[in-house]
Subunit: 303 residues, 2 copies
């Protein structure tokens, strides 16, 4: 049976493209590795896969051996992870309590995107990256760093993206804007689908929470359906057995976030950002990164 | 304030020497890093430090920023870790539930010794390793792999050790035997000191346990004071608030372990190794590695 390389549930472009890149790397190193996904792909990822003519990875089920990319918290992994042996972990998130029975290979870096680490592994081991894989890794970096504007973006991400753009044969800024535009906007999406976007589960102290994020060019379009979104967030919270649901409506042009808040304790959010939650919403100028600008603040507020 | 590089409590040669090596690396990369220790050094480590004329690292206290080497389980870290910011983690053990508020640099490899990873980092980044640091990293590898005889030993450990021996200017086998001999034997040690050797805390399912290991050339010398050791193990279990205490008396010449068992549940040990515990002892031929041949078996038995 193959080794499945898989990202987190509610996959974003990095989780899909780094899985494809990492499976390619493992194959080059002589292993029978296959990329997989832990949920439906989003519009942005579809744009990247279509552009570079790469198939959507298969939905994971019943894997015996896995390599995890772009996540390490057990709550964010595919259902069935408890029956699989984790062989390796390539990630750029905080460490979230994973236990393994044996020592495994772990490569975690505080960079803006998992794909930056995957590209670095290829270059270090002289694995040539073909144009379509380079294009996907580039897409992941442009997506995760919001065209280098996110505070999570490092010089390593920029350098890797520039090299990958040259291999892929695309003009970085032009392709990046087209990619983000394809993912932005909520055209044709139900409120439930908006509330589900890039949903991740967290524990902030004793509070169980979900935090989703949708990146848009026009936040007003999303805020116009706020009442429906709050209902969908409450339904998600109930289904995931958490008390608090947050939805980041991130404005990629103006580099800010409207944070929608459903459930309890809302005062944890107020403590974290030192701002009143008004009409279930806090406006956070400059905030684009869940990892750097939401999770640590919520974690500290829960202490 | 400096960044402290520190290994686990009840430090072994790898925890001390990898801390010294990693602090050297970080200094070469431009950071104000200082090696530290989380407990008293053992006789083997003293031999290596004396041989290569390197000072004993200072005992850690009140550190603000740390780099962890050779461990990642919170229970094995120095007291006060909860007040420190972990900047990086270099290790070769199973992942044991650590949580960090932010993403950090993590380099964990399934190799025989942390020092192998530290040496590799130096070589990758073209940091020249001076003779005395090479000698200490070599000592760590020879110690952790028991002169390459442990099942945890990989080709990478052997290759690194050979290169390091050349830099340090010592004959590998001859120095290795002298090093192990300096650490083996319980001359001048109290039963409490023997039971404390390389003590680590674990959770096997719901069972809290401590597992110590002493490597000797003549196990009979240790088994002769078994009754006193069992008393000391029970006292340790009470002090550490665990129910089970194990002591590996590892015969480095004959590659086997007498596992002493104090406390409850003893049947977890019987299930793990499919052998009866007789007179508080199980003989395990071929067993030399706690990490590969004790911890996974106990973890699985507890499932």
């Amino acid at each position: 049976m193959s080794i499945y390389v898989v990202g987190h549930k509610s996959p974003d472009t990095d989780s899909i493209c780094s899985a494809i890149g990492m499976a390619y790397y493992e194959k080059a190193m002589g292993f029978d590795a296959v990329p997989a996904r832990a949920g439906e792909i989003n519009k942005e990822t579809k744009y990247a896969l279509d552009y570079f003519k790469v198939d959507v990875p298969e939905l994971i089920s019943d894997a015996k051996e896995v390599i995890l990319v772009d996540h390490n918290e057990p709550a964010q992994a595919f259902d069935g992870i408890e029956n699989a042996k984790i062989l390796a972990l390539i990630d750029h998130h905080r460490l979230g309590g994973l236990c393994t029975p044996d020592p495994i290979y772990i490569n975690v870096r505080p960079v803006g995107c998992t794909a930056t680490i995957v590209a670095d592994m290829c270059w270090r081991h002289e694995v040539e990256i073909p144009a379509e894989i380079a294009g996907l890794l580039l897409s992941a970096i442009l997506s995760d760093t919001v065209l280098f504007k996110s505070p999570t973006c490092t010089e390593k991400d920029k350098k890797a993206a520039e090299t990958l753009a040259a291999i892929a044969g695309v003009e970085l800024k032009e392709y990046g804007m087209a990619l983000l535009k394809a993912g932005a906007g909520i055209d044709g999406m139900t409120p439930a689908q908006v509330a589900d976007t890039d949903l991740k589960k967290f524990e902030f102290g004793s509070t169980k929470a979900i935090v989703s994020q949708i990146s848009v060019m026009d936040p007003e379009e999303v805020l116009a359906i706020k009442a429906d979104l709050l209902e969908a967030m409450k339904a998600n919270a109930a289904a995931k057995e958490v008390s608090l649901a947050l939805l980041m409506v991130t404005d990629i042009l103006n580099e800010s976030t409207h944070l929608l808040v459903a459930g309890e304790p809302a005062d944890l959010v107020e403590k974290a950002f030192e701002k009143k939650v008004e009409d279930n919403c806090v406006f956070l100028p400059g905030v684009m990164s869940r990892k750097k600008q939401i999770v640590p603040q919520m974690t500290n507020a829960a202490k």
